[in-house]
Amino acid sequence: MYQKSLVELAADLQKGAYSSEELTRACLQRIHTHDERLNSFVTVTETQALTAAQAADAAIKAGTAGPLTGIPFAHKDIFCTNGVKTSCGSRMLDNFIAPYDATVTQKLLAAGAVMVGKTNMDEFAMGSSNETSFYGPVRNPWDETTVPGGSSGGSAAAVAARLVPVSTGTDTGGSIRQPAALCGVTGLKPTYGRVSRYGMIAFASSLDQGGPFARSAEDAAVLLGAMAGFDARDSTSVDRPVDDYVAQLNQPLQGLKIGLPKEYFGAGLDTAVGDAIAVAIEEFRKLGATVTEITLPNTHLSVPAYYVVAPAECSSNLSRFDGVRFGHRAANAQDLQDLYTRSRGEGFGSEVKRRILVGTYALSAGYYDAYYLKAQQVRHLIRDDFLQAFAQVDVIMGPTAPSVAFKLGEKADDPVSMYLSDIYTISVNLAGLPAISIPAGFSNGLPIGLQVIGNYFAEARLLNIGHRYQQVSDWHTRSPQGFE
């Protein structure tokens, strides 16, 4: 049953082919059997999962089940889960049992979904390879010597290896889409403000957005439908009704205007990836879409702007981890300064420290205007690029990442090269737009992702495009060997 999609599983549960408890036990068994190799989970919540599954079975019997009732899933370990360790991939929070639920956690709980555990991630979501986690790297199920991408590497790998049908992730600069691409699954980063950030441990507040991982756009539509919505506890959440994503999946693509930004197909793009994307675009033409070349002239500024804004916000967001109230606290502190210095020195890993330093510098008196303010101005330029593009086309397509999964350790000591692996995803966050990554081929046995960027709140259209493509392609149905 692990090869079944969420939608198929829900139908089986509904007709009593098996119970949620059986499904959950099977899921837990698969995690138990395979995750030692992948390291995609930080915490497995067996007891809570079985209790939730039994409750789901009761709801199914009572006829009150929804599309997610009884479906096992995993949360990225960045979403606070009441009574369960929420580590954010950091030693700093290795001892942190969240005393409350994130809004997304509450919503999925209310939808009857069964959380089986919390997935591994780059420390505080800072990374593109899942190598910065305190809990060690996650391995890509397609080739265990390669990275799964990051920062939501655990969530992507767990879905790719069919350990869970769906999972949650967060995306600040590509942290859902890039691992989705590298692991051959579907991942969607919603419009900024569509999914509540309350209880999602902040990395860069103006960029962070939660979203779903799934094997298909259809499954992602079901999960996003449950995650999205206005939340009065998040001032940046948008008060706007949530579209019925499932209902719009089958809209025809006839007349869809696709824009291909020339900046996304230049130097730095792996040829095999470029070729696969070209083949996928051809498929859309066959489905009735028209394709035009467009330009996003400020794309080259997105990585530099991002690496000012995100570290600046993170330097402030991570100040609360001071060893005083929760999280790692250095032993035998001599005085306050010593408590701060050692708690933070011991609790944070090197990538987190690097970004805190960069961000602190960017916000310092005398540098603020040159860095932070300038980067915010660049964001406006980038957004304007997109708005101009959307005056001509409905969606923008291109590669999600410049290459397929790279080797573990390959870029670990070269932060700039690591940062460039998010070159196609970052500007979407800077503009606050929604984008989806869908499987679109393989190179040397490793998956390739196609990114589709939409206008604000066009999630339904993106899922519809992904779904129609998945009706005529089978990349998303392929699964890695060795996880039977």
Binding site: S235, S319, V324
Partner: protein, 478 residues
Amino acid sequence: MEWETVIGLEIHTQLATKSKIFSGASTTYGAEPNTQACAVDLGLPGVLPVLNAEVVRMAAMFGLATHSTVAPRSVFARKNYFYPDLPKGYQISQFELPIVHHGYLDIELEDGRSKRIGITRAHLEEDAGKSLHEAYLGKTGIDLNRAGTPLLEIVSEPDIRSAREAVAYMKKIHSLVRYLGISDGNMQEGSFRCDANVSVRPKGQQAFGTRTEIKNINSFRFVEQAINYEVERQILLLEGGGTVVQETRLFDPDKHETRSMRSKEEANDYRYFPDPDLLPVEVDEAFLASIRDSLPELSDARKTRLVSDYGLSEYDAGILTASRELADYFESAVNAAAGAGKLTANWVIGELSAALRRDDREIKDSPVDAAALGSLLLRIEDGTISGKLAKQVFEAMWKGEGSADEIIEQQGLKQISDASAITGIIREVLGKNPAQVEQYRAGQVKLIAFFVGQVMKATQGKANPQQVNELLRKLLDS
């Protein structure tokens, strides 16, 4: 050399909201430590602030009352620094775009002249928690009940020229926020405190001298003492050939001196930037109009009205309108006393205020409320009792022995205003003192006081003094 003092004040006033500025936790003072701090106040991972709309209304009221601009768009910023009672490692405040700016307040100087003090800005921010250094044997306790309490920080222009002016300005702001009902102004509980920026310069010089900032002064008296000490210290330094170091200083109320806390070199770089968790605050004209309509009558307007409505002196009206509570008390009492303005003013400023001072009570806790005082004054007005006996009745009322009428009845204090009864007593007194009668009639008219005293003594003070006077003269002069 003659020196001129230059002072600017930053007043932190706690806004009287039920819940905190960015969370739903209660702001009630005095609860057990850390019982009024929710996940947001604790700065738990993942929590987000949501602005309490009430603080925007209150800040706008303050802005309108001080002729300031209420910004159509203001922005919350993070002020980053580490301190154990600052849970997030940053304070949410306003920096470049405060909600209120460019206003003024007129204060009255001791010589009766009025002086205008500019208000640079007033911005909204959250308070930090409290570090408790005592009682933990080398450790520090942290109470986060106060964390997230809403504050309005009111920054003046450096227009103040003496400690006395600083106190007058601070008192005026204190009175204003209480009139507006946006703060309880309780200084013991830290709801109203200030930082004073102080510098001196040779008289006539345009450029400011180097300033020091005295932090966290929580009484009018301390403000005066701290500034006076600091001015003297700076002048002594400069006259001795030294220089003033720009630094933060603390006032020690026991030693009446200020002490260095940290110098500019050690000062934090707060790395302000707009808080990405909060949207800009937008205020439109319709909102401001509704607030303008709901503003209460403020002290200056009320003073003018009390003078014209009740015939009070400027001086009395000034005292009575210094606080909204006192003015409210006066107006309730004067209504109960059938509009006897001058009499009521005398009693509120005299007997009542003295009794409050003596027992160290606030007017809201007065055992004699405004209606009760008014009914006592009514008995003076209608001649039931004399002013002198009224004081005795007031004391009994203060002790809770009953209403004015009950006490007058119980103690038999009703004034004797019956002319034939008084005449009878006068005849008795005259009969007993023939020698004095003789002397009076021989021209020693001052003896009238002696006879009045004798009559009052005979009636235990209850005879109507005016009638006694008249009848005495009639009988003696006939």
